[in-house]
């Protein structure tokens, strides 16, 4: 009973926190702080989308950055060509990311476990190489630097300047709320149970009639679509789109967020995103140290703290109740 209760509270808790967060820009008007907040919001959405496939169904995909990058390039190229507003960019990016996910899933989902991870790693690097070397279209490593601003209507009508941080803050906050609701809907109820079942034991799951492939594909496509949407929104904010967007660095970041925060848990992933986006900003001075600490955290959490930050919190909770 306790577990269910806790889950029910966490959604209210998160939404309450988000509401609190939403008045933050009114209190702090330092652009740097706002920028960190926006990055954090971006990573929350991005990490949640990753957790749908990695934490919920347990297929550790190493290709997640590809969809993010694709979304960014969609905005930089297609969105600019037709002068699309941001919501149309999101739609196009989502559709194309799902398309890429479908192509990737053809070879990748014939494999299981570790082989799946390898295959996605190979595919992700292939996609990145193509983007990097297809200079005619993507400008390759020279990057696309004049990404147009987000706008509410076609051809730059009602444009949101990229220096208007408050507007971006609320834009990402809204996107996050949508993603959190979607995440909740997927990770609970009947579908959520099915995903947990597949993660726990594929053989048993198929013996009770669950079509493993279908659910794996479903989550892979959903998470790819969300990642593409976030990428398409992130590109105008940063203003430059490079092949780096598709690099393994992003995927590794997400892996760290999900596993340090606690995979498969909304609270954990959100906590992990905040932790790993805010701290690197504070530690911007010593990059090598920062990454070492990052790695150490990851190692400690994976080897000795099974459920990440989420696990620690519930552990402390238990203790408080007992005493």
């Amino acid at each position: 009973m306790k577990a269910i209760k806790e889950n029910k509270y966490s959604i209210f808790l998160i939404i309450g926190v988000l509401l609190l967060v939403s008045i933050l820009p009114l209190l702090v008007n330092l652009p740097f702080v706002l920028h960190v907040l926006i990055s954090t919001l971006m990573y929350i959405g991005f990490a949640l989308s990753y957790d749908i496939v990695t934490g919920q169904i347990g297929a550790v995909s190493l290709a997640h950055a590809s969809f993010f990058g694709l979304g960014a390039y969609v905005t930089a190229l297609i969105g600019k060509a037709i002068g699309a507003p941001f919501w149309l960019n999101i739609i196009i990016a989502t559709i194309l990311s799902i398309g890429l996910a479908i192509v990737m899933s053809l070879p990748a989902f014939r494999l299981s476990d570790l082989s799946f991870s390898f295959a996605t790693l190979g595919l992700a690097l292939t996609v990145q190489l193509v983007v990097k070397n297809w200079v005619k279209i993507t400008r390759g490593p020279m990057c696309i630097h004049n990404v147009s601003n987000s706008s509410l209507w076609f051809n730059g009508i009602l444009e949101i300047s990229r220096t208007n941080l408050i507007a971006y803050f609320y834009l990402f906050l809204m996107v996050d709320i949508v993603i959190i609701i979607l995440y909740r809907l997927i990770s609970t109820g009947r579908l959520g149970r099915t995903l947990t079942a597949v993660r726990n034991d594929e053989v048993l799951a198929s013996s009770v009639g669950i079509n493993i492939q279908r659910y794996k594909r479903l989550t892979f496509f959903i998470s790819a679509g969300i990642a593409g949407a976030i990428g398409s929104l992130w590109a105008p904010y940063i203003s430059v789109v490079c092949p780096d967007y598709l690099s393994m660095d992003y995927t590794l970041n997400l892996l760290a967020i999900v596993f340090i925060g606690g995979s498969g848990s909304l609270l954990g992933v959100v906590g992990g995103s905040i932790l790993l986006t805010v701290w690197p900003e504070l530690l911007r001075v010593t990059p090598a140290f920062r990454l070492i600490i990052y790695g150490l955290f990851l190692l400690i959490f994976v080897t000795s703290i099974p459920n990440g930050v989420k696990g620690i919190i519930s552990n402390v909770n238990k203790r408080l109740k007992i005493n």
Binding site: M142, S239, V241, V285, P287, S304
Partner: protein, 400 residues
């Protein structure tokens, strides 16, 4: 068991937090002399804060390190003060990634409240930072980004806050192409697969074609590739009269070694490559003459500024290189003169520093007169030089 685990986790978290807080303290690089001077002067002026946003991590972290070497040396030579104002450097890492560049600039502007920014060597980062300069009304001096778009977008009618000292790849190509065309019939390009390498090739290719030089091929490779023999064999097969190489010291060593191993004998032109330097010779003590006879063009060649080179060697224990030297020149001449001009005119602010940069005209520097044109681009001299008997020999200095 459980209790034990709980406490161990607590202790661990505590240790890590302690570690992190120990890393946070301020990062201003202040030389000891500077502090001494500070005390002796009774009338204390508010320090001028200068931000350095460069890559201090990632694959080209050594570029950022090199910038700081040059900048610190220049500041020390100036006694830590310009026009009576103590100068403080604040660094922010951008890892050569545009997303991180945004964070870095914002941190410098908001947290460190810098008056002026020394920009990155990565064009993508410089381009990503430009809207932020406009937003915060702070000027940036760039010394390493070569993308032509930067000056196209900067200056009158564009972004008035971005200034570039080093020549763009177009400018360099315009100077170099006739020189190559004079001596060679056909060329092959081999360059880094990044904006630096590709940008350089894109700029010079049409110029060489226009001069009637045959282009036999172009190959790009990733930084740090260990085995480049297949590419070199391809070049061998194409048999051009010259190879145009865009790389940096350490990768050049790998390439030249395998070049030698495969027995190739094609004339090499370094192009933005920094092979013909004392640093290169210093890195290859076992292979004297590896860079012998290679021609090169950059913004600075060894031997142009003997005093500075000596000072550099004694301060850092290693040779100066174009990457390391450019920030020396920026701080030693451009920043100095700009601050002095701004101080003459009145208060030092972000705006007054920008105006000073805009009106700047420095007659004498070792790399030629420095003045920003309508696109906020400076035009320094371009030396063409080669390595002869282990010594850098300047063949010609191209003056714009």
């Amino acid at each position: 068991m459980n209790k034990h685990k709980f406490w161990s986790i607590c202790i661990l978290t505590g240790t890590i937090l302690a570690l992190i807080t120990s890393c946070v303290p301020q990062q201003s690089i202040q030389s000891e002399d500077e502090k001494a001077v500070d005390v002796s002067i009774a009338e204390e002026k508010e320090p001028i804060r200068i931000g350095v946003a460069a890559s201090f991590s990632g694959p080209i972290a050594y570029v950022g390190e090199g910038y700081m070497m040059g900048a610190t040396l220049a500041l020390e030579e100036l006694g830590g003060k310009i026009a009576g104002y103590p100068i403080q450097f604040y660094t922010a890492d951008n890892a050569c990634n545009p997303e991180q560049a945004t964070s870095a600039i914002r941190k410098l502007v908001d947290v460190d409240e810098v008056h002026l920014i020394l920009g990155s060597g990565c064009s993508s980062c410089t381009l990503a930072s430009m809207p932020l300069l406009e937003e915060n009304k702070v000027a940036q001096i760039t010394g390493g980004s070569t993308a032509p778009e930067i000056s196209e977008m900067a200056g009158i009618g564009g972004n008035i806050w971005e200034f570039r000292v080093n020549a763009s790849s177009t400018v360099m190509a315009e100077a170099y192409a006739p020189y190559i065309a004079k001596n060679e019939k056909s060329v092959f390009f081999m360059a880094f697969n990044d904006d630096y390498g590709r940008g350089a090739v894109d700029a010079i290719k049409p110029l060489l074609q226009a001069e009637g030089v045959e282009i036999l091929g172009e190959e790009y490779f990733e930084r740090g590739t260990s085995d480049v023999r297949p590419i070199l064999l391809k070049i061998k097969e194409a048999n051009p009269s010259a190879l145009l190489l865009t790389t940096t010291e350490s990768d050049a060593i790998t390439i030249l070694r395998q070049f030698k191993e495969l027995g190739l004998s094609i004339k090499i032109y370094g192009y933005n490559s920094t092979i013909v330097t004392g640093l290169f010779t210093e890195m290859t003590p076992d292979e004297p003459g590896l860079n012998e006879g290679i021609l090169e063009i950059t913004w600075w060649a060894q031997g142009m500024t003997p005093e500075m080179e000596e000072a550099f060697l004694s301060r850092w224990g290693t040779e100066a290189s174009p990457h390391r030297a450019i920030y020396y020149f920026i701080v030693r001449y451009v920043v100095k003169e700009a601050i002095e001009l701004a101080a003459q005119r009145g208060e030092i602010t972000r705006e007054s520093l920008r105006d000073a940069l805009n009106d700047l005209s420095i007659e004498n520097t070792p790399i030629g007169p420095l003045e920003f044109d309508d696109n906020n681009q400076a035009h320094h001299w371009l030396p063409v030089y080669t390595m002869k008997d282990g010594v850098v020999e300047v063949i010609e200095i191209l003056k714009p």
